[in-house]
């Protein structure tokens, strides 16, 4: 039965060859070539695209993307951990209500959520109007890096909270009692027992925030007003407006590699990977 069952996977192998492996190979090939992409005969091997990346202009953009993603991830972690902790300690009936209402925003469309901040932060937006009424000078938050960070934190905070909450809720109550039994007060129990046990959740959360944050182009476009270009915007431009697919591919490959390196880094820190359970 086993032998027959595994045949079920073979069509999928063909599928992933066509739709996952080949596309990535194409991008790789384009990154290492120059010429007209619509006419394969004009393609020649070239490192021009990669050299272009090393222009200070583009390196700045790379740096800015990572910087903003780090800041957002850090904020999500420091703001989100207490949330996970509070919810995990809530009384049973409050717990499900809290979780429910915490999850409502992420079920709303991602663009709507980002757009919502435009309404608040823009020069004519809610905050500034309010400030005007009170007589205070307006804040030029948007467009700008701060607005982008706010947008990132807003969108990705639940993805930091959920994995941490999942791990917290799995900690055996007896283990906490054991720590107290052995002389640790509440603070020490948190530092020496709870925190270390939630590290897998923290790493999950960091991964689920950092990755989309560093590669976004929507948030930076809408809240950065097109002036705060991140690597995502750069790539998007190459494939739409600029039509330099080779450069775009090179940038994509570099983005991919940098993310794979960060994730390898992360999974080294986390000795027990569960694969399936860490997504929710």
């Amino acid at each position: 039965m086993k032998n027959k069952a595994k045949l079920l996977a073979y069509p999928y192998i063909v599928w992933i060859a066509i739709f996952i492996i080949i596309p990535l190979l194409l991008v790789l090939v384009y990154s290492f070539t120059a010429g007209n992409i619509h006419d394969t005969s004009t393609l020649t091997f070239s490192l021009k695209s990669y050299e272009k990346v090393f222009n200070i202009l583009y390196l700045n953009i790379l740096w800015k993307s990572f910087k903003l993603a780090f800041i957002s991830t850090f904020l999500c972690l420091t703001l989100g951990y207490p949330v996970a902790l509070i919810i995990s300690r809530a009384k049973a009936k409050n717990k499900s209500v809290l979780l429910l209402f915490f999850l409502v925003p992420i079920w709303m469309n991602f663009l709507l959520r980002t757009y919502a901040w435009m309404a608040i932060l823009s020069p004519n937006g809610f905050i500034n109007r309010l400030l005007k009424i009170v007589g205070l000078p307006s804040l030029a938050i948007m467009p700008g890096q701060t607005a982008v960070v706010i947008g990132m934190v807003y969108n990705f905070l639940p993805f930091m909270v959920l994995p941490i909450y999942t791990v917290l809720s799995k900690i055996d109550k007896n283990v906490l009692e054991a720590a107290m039994d052995l002389g640790a007060n509440k603070l020490l129990t948190f530092i020496k027992v709870i925190l270390p046990l939630t590290i897998p959740g923290i790493i999950s959360g960091i991964t689920m925030v950092f990755m989309p944050a560093v590669s976004t182009f929507v948030i930076s476009q809408l809240l950065g007003g097109g002036k705060e270009l991140l690597i995502g915007n750069l790539i998007e431009q190459q494939f739409t407006v600029q039509r330099d697919w080779h450069f775009g591919s090179a940038l994509s490959i570099i983005l991919m590699i940098m993310i794979l390196i960060s994730m390898a880094f992360m999974s080294k820190a986390d000795k027990g990977d569960e694969g399936g359970a860490t997504l929710w």
């Binding site: 107290m180 039994d181 046990l197």
Partner: protein, 344 residues
Amino acid sequence: MSKKLIELKNITKSYNDMVAVDHINISIRENEFITFLGPSGCGKTTTLRMIGGFEDPDEGDILFDDIRINNVPPYKRNINTVFQRYALFTHMNVYENIAFGLRIKKTPSNEVDKRVKRMLKLVDLEGFEKRHVDSLSGGQQQRVAIARALVNEPKVLLLDEPLGALDLKLRKEMQIELIDMQKNVGITFIYVTHDQEEALTMSDTVVVMNKGIIQQIGTPVDIYNEPKNKFVADFIGESNIIEGIMHEDFLVEFSGKKFKCVDKGFSKNEKVDIVVRPEDIDITTPEDGLLEGVVTSVVFKGVHYEMLVESKNYEYMIQSTDMQREGSQVGLSFSPEDIHVMKG
């Protein structure tokens, strides 16, 4: 007579509308191995947790060394606990688990090392320092939990059904080890179990509980031989419990006959419950027996045969190596010392 270490005065605890522990009073002495025994839900674990500080009593006082400790948190009590499912710290190895309490108290490293190594020797886990707790068997995890608690040299060790998850043979070995440990270390062990055999094997004192109330306190021998009421008689060992009447001191009637017995102090013709242990009944010929009956069931149990004999509307259980066939007529015989009369 060693001094009183812990006193529970009028302790009561309820959950929602259910009374888990109902006004219990008990003193626990230094160096005592005392076991709270009873079925699930009798309140024994709740009592233990209150002593440990994980639950607060609704009413009553808990005294430790004559000081009221109701409001003292667990980390300030000189008591340590071995939890039912060990509750080991999975992110630390064996050494760090055991050292945890010492590190909290900021014990110097060389002292920590000395004491942890001594503990590992005591629980027979030398060489396991660096092992991860997940890689250990149930019995080994058990011993780490014990070491982790004992290394802090508490005055009292609380054990919440610690052997429940082990297989039979290992459980029996651990029982003996725990008894030895208690004697060596010389501190009070407060043990909770639902296994009456375990309680009888290990304890100096047994506290039988049911529905939140203490049924009887005594040594294992007392509890077994002189159960105070039907519940204790039924819970401890196998019993034949028959209703009867106590005519006068040393004379009781049941199963249609009067028997000489060794109990006194009941009112004339008081309704009583009589206990006769299966192993105390001998099988004789129908003519020689005090009672006559028919064998209705014979089961081989290895160490003896367990037989049911019906006599005068009661099915007596007999444990004997003297096998009888089902359906045969037999006589039952026992001596006056084997008849135990309890209040009905």
